[in-house]
């Protein structure tokens, strides 16, 4: 399979990989490793703003790249009950094949699980 330059760059860079373990960190995960795709986000929030993000992904290059991009690009933005960029927009940005739309939805589920936990905690 051929990947876009952006996909390859974020797949190979591996920035923001890992976990956060400090106060104000909220974790969300979705998918299953045994089914081929699993994504986890750790989001550190302060006053409704994302201060740090880390991710783990047992997944294809598209899923890793999109997860890495989200973890990088969302810093400093408000945490909401939605992805910082829509699934369709992410698909276009990374040239994700239509057959892999389900994997973007796993990313969305993982992200929202962490974001909603942060929002609900904030009240």
């Amino acid at each position: 399979m051929n990947y876009s330059e952006l996909t390859r760059r974020y797949f190979e860079s591996s920035a923001n990989v890992g976990e956060l373990s400090r106060p104000g960190v909220f974790r969300g995960a979705a998918g299953k490793r045994e089914e081929g795709t699993w994504v986890q986000f750790d989001l550190q929030c302060e006053s409704g703003t994302l201060r740090a993000a880390r991710f783990l992904a047992f997944a294809c290059p598209h899923t890793i790249a999109v997860s890495a991009w989200l973890a990088e690009q969302s810093i400093g933005k408000a945490v909401t009950r939605a992805l910082p960029e829509s699934v369709q927009s992410l698909r276009d940005r990374f040239d994700v094949p239509v057959e892999k739309m389900g994997r973007l939805l796993i990313i969305e589920d993982a992200w929202l699980a962490a974001a909603v936990a942060a929002i609900d905690y904030r009240g």
Binding site: M1, E34, E99
Partner: protein, 414 residues
């Protein structure tokens, strides 16, 4: 960023996919170029009524002798084809069609090449019955399995010699004896065999054998089906095949169409060269394979697929725990030309059916790599492969959260 050590002179990744195809030997290329550029060798080899056709015919027959000699067959048993896929199709459909009144049952294995499995599936759609034998966890078939699967209406057993994914060598001699006793024809896909292990068509008791040119440093688009000519075959009769194509009667009516003289000549030279490979080269390849396996095993969580004792040294297939298959291939692709355990026919890869048949889990079947070693492979290539795999597997495991000791049981699997 690739370093010089991770590329060859052409700036390409290290080539470790010789089981898929091999570079054309310069002596083969020279022989083909001679035919293509000659003013006397361009004739139609079937036009023996004049000297131009006669010259081409002589070249074709010389190549037929070279191929036959290399695999212990009689030149009259060689039927030229476009490759092993066509040879497999001719063998399977040819037998099924010709002996359709005798029986409509075929025995094969779940780990055969698609060029055997797909014709069998097509025959099932047309009303034939096919028994798909399951090998053991090392990829080996017990000859007794084959014997037990034979029925009164079995007309063909089709089992490959050297498996193209895991390099396992089946006991063809034993199968030949079983099929002869039962009165069933035996077809063997030997596309991966020559130059890797001994091939002797006459002594194996095989009735049909498929051969490929480009697996042995010859040209693509050239292959052959060996059709046994002995009169004491199963049920005391000479083997007959129904042709798949018509229009000229070439190759004793079994494969119509003007022969591509240059392709045939190239295959002949390639087979002659392959049959003269020294034991020194085989030892060299075996040492390289041992070096590769030792390096990969040191990474940890790397499982070897297929029998170690009954396999050719040119192939090494491994499954790697804790990494996703598509990411594994994407990570190594800039540095190494290897095959994956997935069939990437679409955006969503399917796990290798061969490894699944050996009992590997879906995840481990996807995260497998096949290394094909060949004449051009060096120690430096092997060391590059080990270094790249060690680095990239470590990186992907870190991303996946499956670092050593943290591999989830469900992922490590069978």
């Amino acid at each position: 960023m690739k370093t010089a050590a991770q590329m060859n002179a052409a700036g390409m990744p290290v080539y470790l996919d010789h089981a898929s195809s091999t570079p054309v030997d310069s002596r083969v290329a020279a022989s083909m170029a001679e035919v293509l550029s000659s003013e006397t060798e361009f004739g139609n080899p079937a036009s023996v009524s004049h000297d131009y056709g006669g010259v081409a015919h002589a070249l074709v027959e010389q190549a037929r002798c070279q191929v036959a000699t290399a695999v212990g067959a009689d030149p009259a048993e060689v039927v030229w084809t476009s490759g092993a896929t066509e040879a497999n199709n001719l063998a399977i459909f040819g037998i099924a069609q010709y002996y359709r009144e005798r029986g409509r049952h075929i025995v094969t294995s779940r780990t055969e090449h698609k060029a055997v499995l797909d014709p069998c599936r097509e025959l099932e759609r047309r009303g034939w019955q096919v028994t798909y034998l399951v090998p053991d966890r090392e990829g080996l078939l017990d000859p007794d399995q084959v014997a037990a699967a034979l029925r009164r209406d079995t007309v063909l057993v089709s089992i490959m010699h050297v498996n193209n994914e895991i390099g396992v060598v089946q006991n063809i001699g034993a199968l030949g004896a079983i099929c002869a006793r039962h009165g069933t024809w035996l077809h063997v896909d030997a596309a991966q065999s020559l130059g890797k292990c001994p091939v002797d068509f006459a002594s194996l008791g095989v009735d049909l054998m498929s051969l490929s040119g480009h697996k042995v440093y010859g040209p693509k688009g050239a292959g052959a089906l060996l059709v046994a000519q002995r009169k004491d075959g199963p049920r005391g009769a000479r083997l007959q095949l129904a042709p798949l194509q018509f229009g000229g009667g070439q190759e004793r009516g079994l494969r119509a169409g003007t022969l591509a003289t240059h392709q045939v000549v190239g295959m002949g030279v390639a087979f002659e060269l392959a049959s003269s490979i020294s034991s020194t080269e085989t030892v060299r390849i075996a040492r390289l394979q041992q070096r590769l396996w030792a390096g990969l095993a040191s990474i940890g969580g790397v499982l070897r697929n297929g029998s170690v004792s009954h396999s050719v040294p040119h192939l090494l297939n491994v499954s790697i725990e804790g990494v996703e298959g598509e990411s594994l291939l994407a990570a190594v692709r800039p540095y190494l030309a290897v095959s994956t355990g997935s069939a990437c026919n679409s955006a969503l890869a399917e796990p290798s059916y061969v490894l699944r048949a050996l009992g590997r889990s879906e995840r481990l079947s996807e995260s497998s790599l096949r290394f094909g070693l060949g004449r051009t492979t060096t120690e430096r290539d092997i060391d590059t492969a080990v270094a790249v795999l060690s680095r990239e597997v470590g990186r992907l495991r870190e991303i996946a959260g499956t670092q050593s000791g943290k591999v989830p049981a469900a992922v490590s699997g069978a």
